[in-house]
Amino acid sequence: MSTVDIKINGRDITVAAGTSILNAAKLAGCKIPTLCYHSDLEPWAACGICVVKIEGNPRMVRACSTLVSEGQNYITQDPEIHSIRKTVIEMTLADHPQECLTCGRNQTCELQRLSAEYGIREIPFDRNVKRLPLDKSTPSIVLDPSKCIQCGRCAQVCQQLQDVWALEFIGRGEKTRLMPSAGVLLNESPCIKCGQCSAHCPVGAIYEKDETDIMRAAVQDETKHVVVQIAPAVRVALGEAFGMEPGTIVTGQIYAALRRLGADAVFDTNFSADLTIMEEGSEFVERVVNGKGELPQLTSCCPAWTDYMEKYYSDMIPNFSTAKSPMMMQGAITKTYYAENQKIDPKNIYSIAIMPCTAKKFERIRDENMQASGYDDVDLVLTTRELARMIKTAGIDFLNLKEEEADSPIGQYAGAGTIFGVTGGVMEAAVRSAYYLITNEELEDVNITAVRGMEGVKAGVVDIKGTKVKVAVAHGIANVKSVLDEVRAAREAGKEPPYHFIEVMACRGGCIAGGGQPYGTEDDVREKRIAGIYKDDEQSEVRCSHQNPEITQIYKDYLGKPMSDKSHHLLHTHYTPRKVYTK
């Protein structure tokens, strides 16, 4: 790798060629302030905060988008730079509502932090705040254009990382808005509700639909038996909201906190992840061994991906696993198996899911199959961020909570269930059990490292005793296209499909970086959360779904066997093509 020798504020440093000034300065221990920049995205160069000087050049350049070149001395701070940045911040603030105290991003807002760092005490310019209507059309996300600072992150993530193009720059100049094309509402747009826009928004202009009050009311209702499930990825991220390192496993504390919030029973979505593997794995075995159904099989547990597929790749519907997502399976068995088991009238059960994901709020009501129990299988979905707020509001001392266990009989999980939270995890879990389902033998080494890691598309071949299973894993919807196009091309040419099994997660890194996770998700945070997930897997007594005793139990007592009629009724669904724009 070639390197360049440069100076940052007169101090020598050698960095890799192709490094931006921003990153070079970071390596030199100099933080250059940014606002529109996000490490997930190509530098957009909009905000004008990161300007720096190159010695000998009268102009200023943007540190985010300018690459270092040999021999230059970059000045990242001087009185003139300070005053330019300050003016730009002041101008941005002058057009911003400044309702920090009542804003969802209070204390996590990047503009607020910048203002504090630059010691802004007054705005010398006339205010020009535009009051624009909220877009609350989706069940997942709220757009508040009044607070938007037009940094463009949401549109970039929506277009570049997710390839959805729900959000666009509309209008020009001061009338520029970030909203769906043609000015339609978000739920009329291609939006897949993944919430990455809300996770990337530096201010409070896009956020998850806050439904914490509904949970508060539910736990107050004496007639309701409130059960809560938590998703795999929540356990390695929630701690961040309380100042813990990303990746810290706080499963037991979450169970404890939920009980203190009023839950009557606490379950784990990981249990249903194991259940999903039994169903989806068996479905896969049917397709690959018995030749029943289309190949490749596509995973279906990510609701944003499902929505995307129905809009953009509906020709792939036959390839989709009919297995519901773990959350919906958990909801369905809660109001059937668990209700019968505990002799509780399912109509009195109130089922809540804590998810890293905003799309889950939409999945809950996406069609009539989500009421397999005869009731809403899941009554309420809260994101990790909402749960953090609830815990804080309730005054629960999260850091000092004693770990607790989940309730039975749908609370135990295998390591395979927990890795559902990371990219490649569903595939790895499926392979662990598919091996058993096909060969009746246990896998020697359950760590399928080929499908791990942050590579956008991971492909490999798994040898199941001579059956070569070609798998691919994609995360970040934009990475899906190349894989699916390969499949399409092979199909059109009448060739063998290039893959047998494809896992897709809409968000980069998987659910651990979902749209509902604590703010500040970047690749370093993703890596830590992923490490937390694998640690949780390794620490599990049981690593494979089919070995989870509660799973064995539910099949024995209730479902019969995977793909049984009862399974089909409760745990499977179907898909329909949807219009990209509904207006």
Binding site: L35, S83, I84, F169, E174
Partner: protein, 597 residues
């Protein structure tokens, strides 16, 4: 009965004031007296552009050119030139350099015409829809020369020698752009013509494309050969239908002749064109935004580097120049870089086309050598200020430029001089203002333009343009403060440094420049709440002098908002709360009873 001679008397403003009419009458009287009136026709013409030697009389077909003529010369002119067919030696123009007297061809006289036409060489001469006419005027000779006699380096060297700088605004050396692109190894490269002319009042590019489309096609083909590109894209505003049509015709004809397409003239070199229409966003004149627009994306600038020369259209190396720059190229190849360098100033060679508009007698397209002074352009070519009013300033560079005051009338105009005095060349809009123009009003117009045309991507421009406009509005209403002036400087500087593209970086120029040269005018608006030019409506007050008003009721009838009241034959009165300051009453009053203050 045919006319034998034509006598042309200069009727320009300058000559007119030095007795051209008297000369005209004297000539007519003499012709009558000497009995030749039926053999001649005396006509007054427009300005000859040679006012320092005026008044001027020209005799045709002999092409006798008499200077500093006085009415008393009429007798001699008629008797000698017309009756005897001889020159009036003492009136003939003497070339200062070679002291030669004589019947020069008008076009040989130095300074006769301030204009030098390179870019507009064919505009107004050839039929732009006939490739043959272009070919007849040395068209495609440069391409021949390049394809068969020069190698790519030679072409770029010629360009380097010429010193040609981009005419789109910033004046970047053209050869360097080409050289960057040439230096990048890539199978696919592009040549792009920026014909997204957007400055208010500028239409140089449109006229060039309408009048001489082949010169741009030829130039781009030459560039393709020099840098190793085979595809040219012309990005032109959809609002220029005629230019588009003529380009299409030109491309079609050139293809038919084999001057485009595969194996041009059997040279083995391929080149062809595509036309892309822009929807008229000003920012799409910015090169990166333009490229994004061609690619089908929203026209928003992207950071530089990477420069288009290295990573341009579809990520491929791209040479992008504007129409005027392109139109220079064939002449440079034809006549050589050295020839081109001989025109203009040391650091800005060649000519510049200006669209001269505003309070000027001869508004129009002018092409002058770089280094021509403002005075020459405004007073000689432009014929001075309309209505004989006082010159106040010239705005150059449109919304990106600044003002040049009377102090700069003798500043030679080139890239660096304009930048040094806080304006810029821009694409060539030149708007002349007189004493009736209010600087705040003018600048407010430009700022409003920038507010509308900012793409909205970067905060300094999106917010800054609006803030500046709001402050100007306040000042124009007499509500500005000294703090506002400071704020405008602060915001302006932040925009210059932190805006992403040229539009935002230069948008505060008109304000910063006028704040420097017309600070008093700002202070008058702020401290005295006065707009001396009477353009800022909120600061203008119309009143009726009761001593002068005879109660004719004309003003009251003209008033569109019925705010003038009074009995017939009694002094009238304007209700200031209702008055919209339209000035109708002021214009209508025949008795000077209405005052404007």
């Amino acid at each position: 009965m045919a006319v034998k001679n034509y006598i042309l008397v200069c009727g320009g403003t300058a000559c007119e004031s030095s007795k051209a009419t008297e000369i005209f009458n004297a000539l007519a009287a003499e012709a009558e007296a000497q009995g030749v009136i039926d053999d001649i026709q005396i006509v007054k013409t427009g300005c000859f552009g040679f006012c320092e030697k005026g008044p001027i009389v020209k005799i045709l077909p002999e092409e006798a050119f008499y200077v500093e003529v006085v009415p008393e010369d009429a007798k001699e002119i008629i008797s000698e030139s017309i009756v005897k067919g001889r020159m009036v030696e003492r009136l003939l123009y003497i070339d200062e350099e070679d002291k030669k007297k004589g019947d020069f061809d008008i076009e040989d006289i130095k300074f006769y015409q301030k204009q030098v036409r390179i870019v507009l060489r064919n505009c107004g001469f050839i039929d732009p829809e006939k490739i043959d006419e272009y070919i007849a005027r040395e068209g495609y000779v440069a391409l021949e020369k390049v394809l068969f006699e020069m190698n790519p380096d030679g072409v770029i060297n010629e360009l380097k020698e010429s010193g040609l700088r981009g005419r789109g605004g910033a004046g970047f050396p053209t050869w360097m752009k080409w050289n960057f692109t040439k230096g990048v190894k890539n199978d696919q490269k592009y040549i792009v013509c920026n014909a997204d002319e957007g400055d208010p009042g500028a239409y140089m590019d449109r006229s060039t494309l309408e009048g001489d489309p082949h010169s741009v096609l030829e130039a781009m083909t030459i560039a393709g050969y020099a840098v190793g590109a085979n595809m040219g894209v012309i990005y032109i505003r959809a609002e220029y239908p005629l230019a588009i049509e003529r380009l299409e015709i030109a491309i079609k004809q050139a293809r038919e002749y084999g001057l485009l397409g595969k194996d041009i003239l059997g040279s083995g070199f391929d080149f062809d064109f595509e036309i892309r229409l822009g929807a008229g966003a000003f920012v799409c004149g910015e090169e990166t935004a333009l490229l994004r627009s061609i690619e089908g994306n929203r026209g928003m600038p992207t950071p530089k580097p990477p420069f288009p020369a290295v990573e341009g259209l579809w990520g491929k190396p791209t040479v992008i120049n504007n129409v005027e720059t392109w139109a220079n190229i064939p002449m440079i190849i034809l006549k050589g870089g050295e020839w081109f360098r001989g025109i203009g100033t040391e650091r800005s060679s060649g000519t510049k086309v200006f669209a001269l508009t505003g309070k000027i007698n001869n508004s129009g397209l002018v092409e002058v050598p770089m280094g021509t002074t403002l005075r020459e352009i405004v007073f000689d070519i432009g014929g001075g200020i309309t209505g004989g009013k006082k010159f106040k300033a010239v705005q150059t560079g449109g919304p990106s430029g600044g003002v040049l005051t009377a102090d700069f009338l003798d500043t030679p105009i080139d890239f660096d001089e304009l930048t040094a005095v806080g304006s810029m060349m821009g694409s060539g809009g030149m708007i002349v203002m007189d004493e009736d123009d209010c600087m705040i009003d003018v600048v407010k117009f430009y700022q409003e333009f920038c507010v509308d045309e900012s793409c909205g991507k970067c905060a300094p421009c999106r917010i800054g343009t609006r803030k500046l406009y709001d402050i100007l509005s306040k000042i124009s209403k007499g509500k500005g403060t000294h703090q506002d002036l400071e704020n405008m400087e602060t915001i302006g500087n932040a925009m210059k440094k932190a805006a992403l593209c040229g539009l935002g970086q230069t948008a505060p120029n008109p304000i910063l420049s006028t704040m420097k040269y017309f600070r008093n005018e700002y202070l008058e608006h702020i401290d005295d709440k006065v707009c001396k030019a009477g353009k800022c409506k909120d600061l203008v007050k119309f009143e009726i002098d009761p001593d002068k008003c005879i109660g004719c009721t004309v003003c009251a009838r003209k008033c569109p908002v019925n705010c003038i009241s009074g009995e017939r034959k009694q002094p009238h009165f304007i209700d200031q709360d209702q008055c919209v300051k339209c000035g109708e009453c002021y214009a209508a009053c025949k008795f000077g009873a209405i005052t404007k203050s």
